[in-house]
């Protein structure tokens, strides 16, 4: 199935998605990777308010390549980064915030049960940063630039951002996990 979703997202928007479905997203997407995740969790702990809302949000695991021009920031190249690094921090993130979609590459470990009825993981082809940059209409703003260009939180306006493949759905299914299990079995058999 193919779906076109508009942000901010409601639970109903994502509950209908199944692994293998194709999704396109329009609206607002926030980039966040290692350092931004740490800072979000730090602020959550001290009870401080975030400078952006994560309600119904789409988090994009991406450290974009940006260029400052007279008219503000311009996206040069903006593909997904390895989501696996954010696996642990995502557990806490999903408990504290109503993030509905995470976009990244490579899948995430032990997260499918945490995502149940809450969030979906959408895979964008790794390395396809030139392609992705053409789907970003505007850089709305940047937060936490002190973390450096790749680690800052960039608020992007996108239109039909995709094709994204549902890698982990909200029913506990995980394509990456399944592929990995099968690969482990092949390796075990070989070692015997």
């Amino acid at each position: 199935m193919e779906y076109h979703l508009q942000t901010p997202l409601k639970k109903e928007d994502i509950k209908k998605l199944n692994v293998g479905d194709i999704v396109y997203i329009s609206g607002e997407v926030l980039t966040a990777r290692d350092e931004a995740h740490s800072r979000i969790l730090e602020l959550d702990e001290t009870g401080e308010k975030l400078p952006f809302s994560l309600k119904g949000a789409v988090i994009y695991h991406c450290g974009p390549l940006m260029q400052q021009t007279e008219n503000g920031w311009k996206v040069i190249s903006a593909g997904p980064t390895t989501s696996g690094r954010m696996s642990k921090m995502t557990h806490s993130l999903l408990k504290a915030h109503e993030v509905r979609v995470i976009i990244g590459k490579g899948g995430m470990e032990c997260i499918a049960s945490e995502m149940k009825n809450r969030c979906v993981y959408l895979a964008y082809t790794g390395g396809c940063a030139a392609l992705a940059s053409k789907l970003i209409q505007e850089v709305k703003t940047v937060h936490w630039f002190d973390l450096g260009m790749p680690e800052a939180v960039w608020v992007l306006r996108v239109e039909d951002f995709g094709p994204l493949i549902v890698g982990i759905d909200s029913n506990g299914n995980d394509i990456f996990g399944k592929v990995r299990e099968r690969a482990e079995k092949v390796l075990e058999n070989r070692k015997r």
Binding site: G20, E35, C62, G63, P64, L65, Q67, I76, S77, A78, G79, T81, T82, G84, K105, G106, G107, A123, T125, G126, G127, C128, A129, A130, L131, A132, S133, K134, G148, M149, P150, E151, P163, I165, G167, I175, F176, K178, V179, R180, R182, A183, E184, V186, L187, R190, K191
Partner: protein, 280 residues
């Protein structure tokens, strides 16, 4: 004989070399990806390979880096013993990296390993990483091989017992299984066997620069076949093509040692070379 080159021209040649490496994939890598797309039967994996091919064209046509992770800057320099540039090559390469970061542009990726403070220009202690080799002749050959973190992070090194030679293929397979979709397969796998702890890693990295049309020996073929039998596929979404090539490089090692390093390379095996001098 002294082969003088203009330092300013040299710096701009290196900027252009980096530009080429970041924007245009070498022909052999591109051909291998086209072939993979033709062979792959898994429809999801096929769609991912098609996106990769589209991305390669777009990056080339628009002159933009194919991946936002423009990597850390790694250079392999072959300096002819009869080539005398007359200026500090290392300083010039560093200056070229700073210029390239602003001009191409490149994402500033270099950070202090402990404070994680970004230098902002892709330089810092030990970066760019320049590997020097003295060779006979009057040429200077520089290869730029920017390397992203996604695949580099999935690499591995193990000091084996010399009696464990037959474990080497499984070590490669374990590394690939642990990596799953994270290093952006289809991969190229560089294996360094022998040398020392650090020399093995360098061999593995050099193996990634070998052209993909270089015929693989039966050891490499066997490992490649076993890797592809894992079914990880493009981006770890399942499929028959997880790697495009396995290249092994060896060096003599201590009689009590067997160092084995595996350097994982994503589909974007970016590198380009330039040659200076060579004429009378």
């Amino acid at each position: 004989m002294s082969l003088k080159i203009n330092p300013n021209n040299f710096i701009w040649s290196i900027v252009n070399l980096l530009r080429k490496a970041e924007i245009e994939l070498p022909e052999d890598v591109k051909s291998a990806l086209i072939r993979a797309e033709t062979i792959e039967e898994n429809q999801v994996a096929k769609s991912q390979l098609q996106a990769i091919l589209k991305n390669i064209e777009l990056a080339k046509n628009h002159g933009i880096p194919m991946c936002q992770d423009t990597g850390i800057m790694i250079f392999f320099v072959e300096l002819g013993t009869e080539f005398h540039p007359g200026f500090d090559l290392e300083a010039a390469i560093k200056e070229a990296v700073i210029l390239a970061t602003a001009e191409i542009p490149l994402r500033p990726n270099a950070v202090n390993p402990l404070t994680r403070q970004n230098s902002g220009d892709n330089t810092g202690i030990g970066i760019p990483d320049i590997n020097w080799k003295l060779v006979p002749g009057n040429q200077l050959k520089i290869t730029a091989a920017p390397k992203g973190a996604g695949s580099e992070n999935m690499s591995a090194l193990h000091m084996f017992n010399p009696k464990e030679i037959e474990h080497i293929p499984n070590f490669v397979l374990e590394t690939v299984v642990n990596a799953g979709g994270m290093p952006c397969p289809p991969l190229m796998i560089g294996v360094g066997i022998g040398g020392s702890f650090d020399a093995a890693a360098r061999l593995a990295k050099e193996a990634l620069l070998e052209p993909l049309y270089t015929p693989m020996n039966s050891f490499e073929e066997e490992i490649l076949e076993a890797v592809n039998a894992l079914g990880i596929g493009c981006m770890g979404l399942g499929g028959s093509i997880t790697a495009l090539a396995v290249h092994v490089k060896t060096a003599y090692c201590h009689t009590a040692s067997l160092p084995v390093a595996i350097n994982i390379q994503c589909w974007a095996n970016r590198h380009a070379s330039v040659v200076f001098g060579g004429e009378e």
